[in-house]
């Protein structure tokens, strides 16, 4: 009789996978391709950036702009809007009204080569409606977008963009401050405890109606706003812009997003060529970019108040002890990151409280004193 019991022991198991920088010399690929960025939007000043691709081995920060190009938007009905060069490869075109039944394209003449984008009809965007939700008190706030119903049966594709603004107010609103230039405590003629922070979206956000009932976005996620910073301590505003795009542009942006962030994983597909809709007249010169054409951009701003969401941001603003004050001069305290939180002078004495500078000055939390025009 033979019985086996085997014990698998992984002694001193060290699972040491790693990611490390890879600095191999790469062969020179196909460079000097024209890069075109911009979108044709009805009734707007459209800006296009024209640059060239360059070698990976080129570590210069100088962007190879294309400055001597002729750029224009033309329509199949003979309409033409010409660009005004703005330098550094920037071209602005005051595009008029785009007719829904007319095909438009971008034309570029650069270095003797003519590039054109595929003629397309403008795509219109429905009105949008914003909302937000927070699944659990410890989770981030999700900003959601819904689009208005449409009679169009085909799948709708969208590219989205957002801007955030929020107000920050520090716990202390002093009337005196330490002036490091004069090394004196002086009375203030302004308030520095209140400010506004503004950020822009720096990622590619795409959505489609393919999975939604009614062929419309219904509370589709735009982004998650973190709750562990100052965003939801006072008032928060979210501006979401949505633009309908073609399926081709959607696929281009998908690959662009993948190249931008989703690389190298075990199950990540290999990167692929960007499916441009810009071609050259001689078919030899390649270009990167996808020129989308839109009738409009829908946008909406939404305010969120602290009572509506749970914020986990905690700011510790203890005041320094009398011993600390006695042992340090105001200059030393300032240099160590402390500022006056409260300062009052009485005939019989004074109250002097120092606390962390971020508890006093909103600018040190990333804010400016510029109050947005739309702020209520």
């Amino acid at each position: 009789m033979k019985k086996i019991i085997s014990f698998l022991l992984l002694a001193v198991m060290v699972f040491t996978s790693c990611v490390e920088e890879y600095n191999a010399e790469l062969p020179e690929g196909e460079t000097d391709l024209l890069v075109v960025e911009g979108t044709i939007i009805s009734d707007s000043l459209c800006t296009f950036h024209l640059t060239k691709t360059y070698s990976l081995n080129n570590t210069s920060n100088q962007i190879p702009a294309v400055n001597n190009a002729f750029v224009r938007v033309s329509g199949s009905d003979g309409t033409v809007w010409k660009a005004i060069a703005g330098g550094q490869g920037s071209y602005s075109i005051p595009v008029g009204h785009l007719n829904a039944n007319t095909e438009y394209q971008l034309e570029i003449e650069a270095d003797g080569v003519t590039y054109t984008s595929t003629p397309q009809r403008p795509v219109s965007t429905e009105n949008i409606n914003l909302s937000f939700t927070q699944n659990k008190p410890e989770e981030n706030v999700q900003i959601l977008v819904s689009t208005a119903p449409t009679n169009d049966a085909g799948t709708h594709y969208y590219k989205m963009y957002y801007e955030e603004d929020w107000e920050v107010i520090t716990p202390y609103d002093p009337t005196y401050e330490y002036d490091p230039r004069t090394d004196k405590i002086v009375e203030m003629d302004y308030h520095k405890n209140r400010g506004w922070i503004h950020t822009n979206c720096n990622s590619i956000i795409l959505a489609s109606t393919v999975n939604f009932s009614g062929n419309q976005l219904q509370e589709a996620k735009v982004y998650s706003a973190p709750i562990d910073d100052t965003r939801f301590t006072t008032m928060y505003a979210s501006l979401v812009k949505v633009r309908s795009i073609s399926q081709g542009e959607y696929e281009y942006e998908q690959i662009r997003a993948q190249i931008s962030s989703e690389m190298g994983g075990l199950f990540t597909p290999q990167p692929s060529e960007l499916p441009t809709n810009i071609s050259s007249s001689d078919k030899q010169h390649k270009a990167i970019g996808y020129i989308g054409i839109s009738s409009n951009v829908s946008q909406q701003r939404m305010f969120i108040y602290p009572r509506d969401v749970n914020s986990t941001y905690k700011q510790i603003c203890d005041v320094l002890s009398d011993e600390d004050l006695a042992e340090n001069t105001p200059k030393e305290l300032y240099q160590k990151g402390y500022q006056i939180g409260n300062y009052e002078v009485f005939p019989t004495g004074k109250i002097e409280e120092w606390t962390k500078d971020k508890c006093v000055d909103a600018r040190l939390l990333g804010a400016t004193f510029y109050r947005p025009e739309f702020w209520p």
């Binding site: 014990f7 040491t16 990611v19 990622s203 590619i204 931008s260 190298g264 060529e273």
Partner: protein, 898 residues
């Protein structure tokens, strides 16, 4: 019997000692020797070390019987030998001669059967008093496991004078014609020691050869079996192995893995470590058919490929066909891996268990009716969440949880000597999550029944039928309004009927029918909770794949063998189904859509012959030349744009718009074994073509696509290579080494494709590794102590790198961009693993036997690249290298046998 013969007498018998004079004492071995000398018979004894006996020099059998009559020792006689055993007599009433298949009478129809269990005995075949008038007589044979009564497949029977060879089939049967007279048959194979049986051949007869397994020989035996196959058979590119071999092969995480084992063979590659799936001779991962007890396994991995889905404790053997694929197999164009389950011991209950840091296993072997009915049960589970924390952040799984379990069972019923019925079951379940809001899971299920019948000495049959299932789901619930479950499932019923008919001593005909009824739930996307997602369901895909085959193995002369087979496969895609029709001659796309139709019944028929040809020419006794050609068709395709098998892969059947993949392979090989039969050399070369291989365009929508054909780009491919292998079978140093040079390319050359990959030029696949060297070796310092070493070197695989960079104004950063696919190679891959093995001692009376394997995976600590990628950081495009196993990984395996 051999075991009894080899027992060494250990203990004393006090009763005997007390009655005898000290001067008359005799040592046990002296007694045996003297008794053998005096009576002229072989004596096997278990009596004590020393016994007292008068006049030991003249000892007789009666004297011994007299001495033992008052003890519990009994003397038995069997086949002319004496057995002295405690407690019982040896059962010797097993008929030496019996009627075959119940035939009555004393006429010519009576075929005597001899049971040959001892290599020292000369057995008689046929009628001694009525020897055949023919010079040659027919021997029908069956090789069985002495302990379990199971037939043993793949055992090589060799008669050297004259040279006649035979190989046992799935029922342990073999057939050979021998000249009358004294013949010695050499017997070699997996799990057994080399042995022989001696026969005095008089006339036609049946020999039942009983063998005993010996696990300690596994390392050598596997290699030996390979040699027999490669030199004698007509098969090219076939490997057969036992998973028990794995115990001496160092493995990542210390877990035996049959799929990793096959990757040590030449011609089998993988994209990288910890990746599921393998590539055989330039084929993609979905072009490999993986059969488990005849059922198809679609996802053979646990934990993203870190473990195979097959518990090594439940595997009996595995066969990999990478070139000459027998006509009985089909459905994939690259390879077939057929894995068979172990059957339980039918005599005694036994089992095994293991507890580890990653997995625990339990294996039970339960005889229900002795020698008739047994049940094998096994299970494995893991508690591996902690390993996720160790994965690289870039892998995307670091914050996840994961777990799996698998269960297997085999009910084995030996109906009688000629019929056998087995029921197999297998179930595996995987679940993992990246977070609370993103969960994945998949499971495999296979249930089948198989009836094997030895109808007569010329005809045998095997019928199997079963049900295979694979399903997969992915829940995403982070955004309540978009919470949804994506699910997919394959259900298939299969029937296989195979017949082997030996028309002549040198000719074996195989024929049969295979049929698979597919029912694929092609995809469901359903809302969860308060989700605003709409329910979307792809039409179920139903199809019937049927094939009939005929295969003939013909030994034309002693030197020339031919194997010719034809397989006629047919595929009917069935409705009801709604599908698109496109403009004639145009690529499927929305712009070429003509109409959408809904049809019932058969909506598309595909049919075609597949040819399997191979031949072997024996140049010398120990050298042969082979060539083969085979064509294959594949009607089911993996829908994935990754080069490895991922846990989210789904499969699609051919239909009105997606044609079956087709491939053919031409191969040739030269095989030589040294005169001392210790070394074997082989050289194989092949050329392979693939067409209608499915490749997907950039940005293809792979999931929930109602018209996948619009995202498919038909691709052609070819591969070629040379594989050199050296095997050493015996001696302190044994193992194999191989070098292969191989290339594999794809091309999208359809002129209708607007922007084909790499401009429509040939480009290397992601598993194109031209140079590859593999070494699997074991050095035995003593019978118990050995050192194993694996070495693996290969050219780095192709990958896609940026052609350059540009500034993205919208993202306000530099971006890489890509043009040509697979234009660059990762750094070369090199890995060495070592393990030190201590085998159990030979003290058979000891209750426990302990063995150890202490090893290090990737002992060189080399950070082999799994991938390189480029991202923008701090204003620069930076390259990064991802290594899965970036350091030496030590492991210790402890086995206790009792």
């Amino acid at each position: 019997m051999k075991k009894i013969a080899s027992i060494i007498i250990l203990a004393l018998l006090p009763l005997l000692l007390s009655a005898q004079n000290v001067n008359d004492s005799i040592r046990a071995y002296q007694l045996v020797e003297q008794l053998q000398k005096n009576i002229g018979k072989k004596v096997y004894s278990l009596i004590p070390d020393t016994m007292k006996i008068k006049n030991p020099q003249a000892i007789s059998l009666d004297q011994v019987k007299d001495v033992l009559k008052n003890t519990n020792y009994r003397i038995s006689e069997y086949n002319g030998s004496l057995f002295i055993m405690p407690g019982r007599s040896l059962v010797t009433d097993m008929p030496a001669l019996k009627q075959h298949k119940g035939q009555q009478g004393n006429g010519e129809s009576f075929i005597p059967t001899v049971i040959a269990a001892n290599e020292n005995q000369v057995y008689e075949i046929g009628f001694k008093n009525r020897p055949s008038k023919e010079e040659k007589v027919a021997i029908q044979g069956m090789v069985i496991n002495f302990l379990t009564g199971e037939p043993m497949e793949g055992i090589q029977i060799v008669c050297h004078d004259p040279l006649v060879t035979a190989l046992t089939g799935m029922d342990g049967l073999f057939h050979m014609e021998l000249p009358k007279g004294y013949r010695t048959l050499e017997i070699r194979g997996m799990d057994i020691k080399d042995t022989e049986r001696k026969f005095q051949v008089f006339s036609d007869g049946i020999a039942r050869i009983e063998l005993e397994e010996d696990e300690r020989m596994l390392q050598e035996i596997v290699i030996e079996a390979g040699r027999v196959q490669s030199v004698r058979s007509t098969q090219i590119g076939m490997e057969k192995f036992k998973p028990a071999l794995l115990k001496n092969i160092p493995a990542a995480l210390g877990e035996s893995d049959v799929l990793k084992m096959i990757q040590t063979l030449p011609g089998v590659k993988s994209v990288g470590e910890a990746s599921s799936g393998y590539n055989v001779r330039g084929g993609s991962t979905d072009q490999n058919l993986i059969l488990y007890n005849n059922g198809t396994v679609y996802n053979p991995s646990h934990l993203f490929g870190l473990f195979t889905a097959f518990n090594s404790d439940m595997i009996s053997d595995a066969e990999l066909y990478k070139s000459s694929i027998p006509a009985q197999y089909g459905g994939r164009i690259s390879s077939v891996l057929s894995i068979s389950s172990k059957e339980a011991n039918k005599e005694k209950a036994q089992g095994s268990a293991s507890i580890g840091l990653l997995t625990s296993k339990l294996n039970l072997e339960l005889p229900i009716v002795k020698n008739k009915l047994s049940l094998q049960l096994n299970g494995r589970t893991t508690y591996s969440d902690w390993i996720m924390k160790k994965l690289p952040e870039k892998s995307g799984y670091r914050d996840g949880t994961a777990g799996f379990y698998d269960l297997g069972g085999v009910l084995s019923w030996n109906i009688n000597q000629h019929n056998k019925f087995n029921i197999y079951g297998y179930y595996s379940n995987d679940h993992f999550s990246f977070s609370e809001y993103e969960k994945y899971g998949y499971k495999n299920m296979n249930f089948s029944a198989e009836w094997k019948s030895f109808i007569n000495e010329r005809l045998s049959s095997a019928f199997s039928a079963g049900y295979d299932h694979y399903d997969y789901f992915n829940d995403k619930t982070e955004v309540a309004s978009e919470a949804a479950r994506l699910s997919f499932g394959i259900n298939q019923f299969f029937f296989k009927g195979n017949f082997n008919y030996r028309t002549h001593e040198n000719n074996l005909v195989k024929m049969g029918l295979n049929s698979i009824l597919y029912n694929i739930q092609a995809g469901t996307y359903e809302p969860l909770g308060i989700s605003k997602i709409k329910l979307d369901k792809l039409d179920p895909e139903k199809a019937l794949e049927t094939a009939i085959y005929l295969d003939d193995e013909w030994e034309v002369t002693e030197k020339l063998s031919l194997n010719a087979g034809i397989r006629l496969s047919a595929f009917q895609a069935m409705g009801p189904r709604t599908y698109n029709k496109y403009a004639e001659g145009q690529l499927p796309s929305i712009s070429t859509l003509k109409e959408t139709v809904t049809e019932d019944g058969i909506i598309k028929n595909y049919m075609g012959p597949e040819f399997r040809l191979s031949t072997r020419y024996t140049i010398m006794d120990n050298m042969s030349l082979k060539a083969g050609f085979n064509t294959m068709r594949q009607y089911i395709h993996k829908v994935s744009n990754t080069s490895i098998m991922s846990p989210t892969d789904i499969w699609k059947l051919s239909d009105a718009n997606i044609a079956p993949q087709k491939g053919w392979q031409l191969a040739a090989g030269l095989y030589y074994e040294s005169n001392d039969r210790n070394w074997e050399y082989s050289l194989e070369t092949y050329y392979k073509k693939m067409s209608d291989y499915l490749n997907y365009r950039n940005s293809a929508v792979l999931l929930m696509n109602h018209h996948l054909e619009t995202d498919v780009i038909s691709t052609n491919g070819y591969a070629y290579g040379v594989e050199l292998q050296v095997k050493k079978s015996y001696g302190k140093l044994n193992g194999w080494a191989s070098y292969s040079y191989s290339r594999t390319f794809l091309r999208q050359d359809d002129p209708r494709v607007a922007n084909p990959v790499n401009g429509g030029k040939w480009f290397p696949t992601e598993y194109d590794r031209p140079h590859e060297f593999k070494l699997v070796s074991n050095y035995k310092f003593t019978q118990r102590v050995s050192l194993s070493c694996n070495f693996d070197y290969s050219t780095g695989r192709p990958t896609t790198i940026p052609a350059g960079q540009y500034y993205d104004y919208a993202l306000k950063k530099k971006q890489p961009y890509y043009t040509d696919r697979n234009s660059y190679r990762l750094p070369d891959y090199m890995r060495m693993d070592l393990s030190f093995n201590l085998e159990p001692g030979h003290h058979l009376t000891r209750m426990f036997h302990t063995s150890f394997s202490l090893g290090v995976y990737n002992v060189l600590g080399r950070k082999n690249a799994y991938s390189i990628y480029y991202v923008e950081e701090q204003g620069k495009i930076k390259g990064y290298k991802l290594s899965v196993f970036g350091a030496p990984i030590p492991f210790l395996t402890v086995n206790l046998k009792f």
